[in-house]
């Protein structure tokens, strides 16, 4: 049987890649942000897995900080999205071309 650690690690890498691919391919700002959160979820799983494998607490604390920071980021990000929607009428990333990307 495969040991648990590689399974968890595989899940974390899969989540991270799904998130990264989505963040690059999707055009809706909120969906892109959700994809970034999926990346962070993958990272958290990796941290917890390694924390268990290494018998150290650092990884678990890192996950706590990742969660708290992700919440703060979400608050700021959604505020920016709402502002953009009110001023621009859309949060489609392709439509933001006041400046060249």
């Amino acid at each position: 049987m495969i040991d648990n650690q590689s399974v968890y690690l595989a899940i974390s890498i899969i989540l991270f890649v799904i998130g990264a691919a989505g963040a690059i391919c999707r055009r809706n700002a909120i969906v892109v942000f959700m994809c970034i959160e999926i990346m962070l979820a993958g990272v958290s799983i990796a941290f917890v897995t390694f924390s268990r494998a290494n018998q150290s607490l650092d990884g678990i604390f890192m996950v706590l900080f990742v969660m708290a920071v992700a919440a703060a980021e979400a608050a700021v990000g959604l505020a920016i999205f709402v502002l953009m929607y009110r001023k621009h009428g859309s949060i489609d990333l392709d439509k933001f071309n006041l400046m060249k990307w």
Partner: protein, 118 residues
């Protein structure tokens, strides 16, 4: 060890197969008559009203965000509470500082009027 699960697997296969067969058979054999009324969204037998995208008042959004941020700060209190005794004065002072910072932000939010409903 895996052998113990064979009945469960069989059960799942039969269950899934029954569902698939029933759906496929009924769509293959049943008569199809489409009309406008039939295509409408089913909503408790009532006629549907309004657009699907109903705007939600912005108040919900501010309160939800504030809740999210303040709620997640609790995450730091669990490990602190579990290890309260061994952390001693250092832990207590640190948590007091943390709470003071949170409290300042709370006062700010309050005075800004973000908590007023009407």
């Amino acid at each position: 060890m895996l052998r113990d699960y064979v009945p469960v697997m069989l059960m799942m296969l039969v269950g899934a197969g029954f569902g698939v067969v029933a759906v496929v058979l009924s769509s293959a054999l049943g008569p199809k008559r489409r009309s406008r009324v039939k295509k409408e969204t089913y909503e408790c037998g009532m006629t549907t009203q309004g657009a699907t995208y109903a705007p939600t008042p912005i108040k919900y959004y501010v309160v939800a965000l504030l809740f999210l941020v303040f709620d997640l700060e609790c995450v730091f209190m669990y490990p602190w509470a579990v290890h309260y005794k061994s952390l001693g004065v250092f832990g207590f002072v640190e948590m007091v500082i943390f709470m003071v910072v949170l409290f300042v932000c709370y006062v700010y939010v309050w005075k800004k009027g973000a908590l007023e409903w009407e």
